[in-house]
Every structure is written in C-alpha cells, then in structure tokens.
Subunit: 414 residues, 2 copies
Amino acid sequence: MIVEIVSTGTELLLGQIVNTNAPYLARKLNELGFDAVYQTTVGDNRRRMSNVLAIALERADIVITSGGLGPTQGDITKEVSAELLERQLQLHEPSVEHIRGFFQRRRLTMTNNNLRQAMMPDGAIVVTNHRGTAPGVIIEHNDKTIIHLPGPPMELEHMFEASILPYLTKRFGGQGVIISKVLRTFGIGESTLEERIRRFILAQKNPTIALLARSGEIHVRLTAKADSEPEASALIADLEASLREQINQYIFGIDEQSLEQVVGEELCRQKLSIALAESCTGGAATAKLTDVPGSSSYLIGSVVSYANRIKTEQVGVDAALLQEYGAVSPETATAMAQGIRSKFVTDIGVGITGIAGPGGSTPEKPVGLVYIAVAGPQGVVVEEEHFSGQRTAIKTRAVNSALDLLRRYLQTKN
Amino acid sequence: MIVEIVSTGTELLLGQIVNTNAPYLARKLNELGFDAVYQTTVGDNRRRMSNVLAIALERADIVITSGGLGPTQGDITKEVSAELLERQLQLHEPSVEHIRGFFQRRRLTMTNNNLRQAMMPDGAIVVTNHRGTAPGVIIEHNDKTIIHLPGPPMELEHMFEASILPYLTKRFGGQGVIISKVLRTFGIGESTLEERIRRFILAQKNPTIALLARSGEIHVRLTAKADSEPEASALIADLEASLREQINQYIFGIDEQSLEQVVGEELCRQKLSIALAESCTGGAATAKLTDVPGSSSYLIGSVVSYANRIKTEQVGVDAALLQEYGAVSPETATAMAQGIRSKFVTDIGVGITGIAGPGGSTPEKPVGLVYIAVAGPQGVVVEEEHFSGQRTAIKTRAVNSALDLLRRYLQTKN
C-alpha cells in the first residue's frame, strides 16, 4: 500500500516551524509495513491544497493529512477534501457534544467558530480527539482512503496510536512485519560509537542499523523485516547481543525509555529518596525527574541555589569552603550534594554547579564547565564536564549528564 | 515567482531525521519575496523522483532540490533531472580538481565514487561547495530554473547564502520586500482571539494575518509586502495599532520575545529580586526563568517542595494551614509565595501547587487543577487554573501561566 503524507499549514511553508508530524507518521507507517513514499506540504490555500490532494489520491492508496482542522477561517482541509470528493459537510452532533464538553470541563465558553470543527463530510468515519477539540476524519472513497488528522503533534500522535493504527491494521491487515528496537546510549560520541560497531554497520542488511544523535544521547535503531513478529524479534535479538558486546556500558535504556525513567525505576526498586541542589541548571534536573508519573514517591524536593547566600543558608554549604574554592568547583558540588542530602533528610543528594554563560566565566573557569556530585550511602562521586554551545544547550547537557551519573551511581551500588 | 522545494532522501521518508532544510529554504525564500508554496519529499527512487520533479516543473517557476548529490549509488538527483530535461552528464574538470583538493587537504584518499559528484548536466551552472565535496547545480531550462543543493544542512545553508541568494537576486531582481511581525499573546484561546479580531482577518489582504497556537501562547503574525522596507513597516504599524485596540492586554511580547524574557526585563527594570516555591511544576518555572542570560541578577533561588514536609520545613508553610486546606489550595499557594519570599529574603515570591497527574486527584481536586500565587510589595494575587492533557503538558501550561501572572503582577505594579 502506497501512502502519501500531506502536511498543511502556511506556517510550515513560511518555515516558521519545523515539520515533526511527517517524520512521526512516516516512522509509524514504515513500522507497520506501509510504504510512505511521498510527503507533501501545502499552505492554507484552497486551489493549491485541492491540487495537491488530487495528485496524492492518484499516486497513493492512502492519503494522510495533518493540520487545518481547527476552528478558524484558515482551517480548510475538510472543506477542500469534501469538495474534491464531491461530498457535503454536515454538522455531526456527537462531535458538537464532545467539543462542548471539552470547553465545559475547562470552564471556557465555546464560540460558534468551534462548530466548524464538528462539520463532517457525508459518509465519513469520525475519530474522537482525546487531546483536543478537532475530531479526525477517515473517508473511504472507491479504492482510496483519505485520513485527516489534527495538526498539534500531541493530538495527532495520540489519535494515530489510539485510532488510526488499529484502523489501518484491521482494514489492510499485515503488510509483513517490521519491528524496530532502539538502544539508547549516553556518554559516547557518534563517531566513536560508529567506529566501535563499524563492522556491523557495513554488513547490515536485515536488521538495518541507523544512528541518531539527540541532545547528548545517541540512539542505535535496529529495524528487522520478517513474515512474523517472532522471526523479526529473533533477528533483532541476535544483532542486539553482538552490539551489546561492544557498547553495553553506554546503553541506558531501550525504545522510549528516558534517563529520568531509568533513574526513577532504580530509586523505586532500591527504596531510596532523593533531593537536589541545583545552580547552573536552575531546577531543570528536578523538573526532568518530576516528568515521571509517581516521582513524588522518591523525590522529596530541591533547592535552586542561584545566589551564593542560598548555597550557604539553605543548602548548608560552608561559607569558608565556598570562599576558598569558589562556587564552581568539585568541592562546592560535593558540599551541595552532601548539604541537601542532610538538610532534606534523603538517601541521595545531588549537587550541580557550573557556568552556563554567556557571562560569568574566568580564564580558569570557562563557560560550559560544570561539576556534578552524587552523595549517598556508598559515598560521594563528583565529575567534571566541559560542554559547548549556547546557554540552554549547556543546561540541557548538564541535566542529562547529572541523570546519567545518578544512573551509574545507582546501578553500580548493588 | 512560484518556488517548489523538493527534499530527497529515503532517511526523510522513513522519518529517521527531521527535515530542517525545507524550513530553512522556505524562510530565506519568503524573506526574498519568493512564494515557496509547495514542499515535497521523495526518496532515492528514480521513477518517483522523476515524477515529482516533472510535477514541480509544471506548477513552479523555480524548483530547488536538496540531497542526492553524494558519491554513493543512492545519490541520483542529477541523473534524474538530466534525464528529465534531456541533457547529457559530462565530467566537469574544475569540480574534479575541487574534490581532489578537498581530500588532499584532509589527507584522505579520493575514491572513484567521488567522481560521480563531478558529473554535470550539459549547460549547467556549477556552484562551488565550500563546506563539502558535492558541487551545487543550476539549470536554466526554457522559462524554468532548477537548482540542486547538497543535503547536509551546513553545506546547503552556506551554498545558499554564498551563491544561490546572489544568483536569484541578480536574475530575478527584487521581488519587493516582505516583513513579518509577530504579536505574542497569552491567556486567550485561539477561537476567542479570532472572534475579537475577526473583521481584520476577514478584510486581510496586505498585511496578511495568521494565527498560530503554541503551548498556551497564540501568535498573531502580520506579514506585509511592499516595494520598500519603510512602506512595509508602515503597513504593519497601522494594522498592529488596530489589533492592539482589541487584544492589547493579552500581548506580552513581539517576535522572538519569550515570557521569561519579558518577566526578566521587568524585574531588572524595577530592581526586584525573586524566589519561587514550586510543587507540581517540579522546578520547571525556575528553569525557564534561568534560561535568560543574566537572570542571576534577580533570581535568588527556589525550593521544589514536592513532599509536604519540605513545604513546612523549607518554605515555612504553616502545618495547620496545610492540614486544613490541603496541599493543593489557594491558601497553600499563597503561603508558599509568602513563605519563600520571607525565607529567601526577596522582593517577590511565587508559589505553585497543583495536580499534574495521572495520580493524586480527588473528585474535588481533579488532575490539572493548579493554584499560582505571587506575593510582593503590592500584596498577594492567587489564580486558579484548570489544565488538560498529559502530565508534562500540564506542567508546561502551569509554568507558562505562572510566568504570565508574574508579568501581569509586575506590569500593573507601576
């Protein structure tokens, strides 16, 4: 089955936002065994959108659009496709109720504009949007299928997983099986990693191997194609075992597992509580840890000690030590980890201090220098890091490195 | 002049990488006054690429491709377009020299594969690549122009700025000037905002008006086209004044200005210091405030008071009050704001408490309920919010709402 992904929206054409929906859909469709071989982007212009949809319906069996289902006059996707397929738009009562409920729960007033979102082409399958107001639409038209999804990635992704994926699988059945597994690594550069597993990359056929760099993490994606799931899984398991012989120490998780999830699971399993003292990361490490549902069972709290007086008064760093070694030093990072652990009465304490820039550096202490300390029942570890990039990139890298140090501390503990 | 951007590469079709070349080119072309109204992505497949290029040459005046100029057998862009335009490929000696030099400088051996990169269609203008081996290509064909650029963003962007931009300007002259200005709003829904400025949207012509929703912010983008910059700016200023009459209270910034920047500027200007006590946002509000360079001049620090005992011990919330009203209540939010302000000795204190979910809710206190308080020289304000979505979405919205409440507090102060 040939699929074309049509992204709509003038903001995409103007380059104001990067299109993440098309790669998401492409990945998912390819995993299902569909060939998503065309991607097209068109603005909120009736004539051009109609032409693009006509071409797509000619060369593809399934056309999936994103965007243009909103309440505004610029949201025209359903109108354009209904006209192209010569179908009338009708008010769809269950959608009206859904939208009304959405506004009521949020104590907001629904405007008449929002009723546009409940207008549906005759004969369409209406797909509930559990993350927003715009329902999705599936139209089966002769031997073609056209699917309209909302533009916001959060809504599109949830709708695809919850409704479109089951629909496609049920209607078109197995297209063979494609399975992917991602080995997520941290603490190794892309080219070094590539060299370590070079012979597997050169010999790749099925499974294929793809490397992907993402804010300090390198993801190794293995993709196998086979007639059945067990066969594909077996192919992946074989290759994974060989790769792990080369890079196992850097692999912190698989697939969607994040560093903060892995850390959270270790803390839960070992029944350890944690507190952090953050300077240059400004609370971002704690914010990341608390992205995990249930993190309140181990995360007691944190202090963002931006001013030095907060380091001494609220974290318990000795003023003389701070004076002697400076705020950005292994000694201060250690004292922050120990101080917050004792002050917040937790099993684990973390201290992070560094220079995020662009100001605040000295010749000895350049922008990007960060010290991270972990204190716990097994003593203290402290690491020195040198990051490059802009202020926010340095913060992100410091957060990820802190989580990884924490992971290694927790995993070597037992 | 209508432009189509054609991105090639199977890795794009598989969703393994996000396409940043198309938005880059779109942005640049629109700034130049060209209408880049179609974007298409196709894989390294001769038949499909040829069809895509044929359609593009029909509906656009200028077709710009990225990718497929490399040395491997999968790099076929020039071959496909040469065949489509019925031109022969010839070895281009200066390009051979350029590629040879590139390898020599890096002390690498050139393989015969690399000579593929020096094969050029008859009559093409060859464009030097200062960042890599693959030259770019411009083919003027009847009244159409087709431009092939290399895929790596670093190479593509440099080549575009250094060679393609001057070429387009010289050949097609000024396409007039296009200027955009974004009014960033917060605290108003997309459809309500649209209703307020409906008559301007319906009457839009030049400037045009586009609405864009982004994690709670609605951006109103005005784009004006004119012969000169002052004329375009004047058109925007007129419309902006009319729009501000309708929605001024929701506009917090323009263009790239973020809420945290605006808040930071107010704090600086008024010489106020600030501390936060965060529960459900887990430090994310402080992390956002510290994204701004120089924020250490006003941000003293924060406490993430995830456990109730931290709220009492470290923030100074009265245990009896916490017991009586619960952790998620306007009273506790207020006590957190006042407590952190007094404990950290700052001018402004902020308290955020809520239920990020998925657990922790009760019938009276559902997931998404958040209280935000700001305490300062002008007294205390506290707001109740109801957010929907996943845990991380609720956190993000709570952070943005806290920053906006802070902005309004600071701006009404004087």
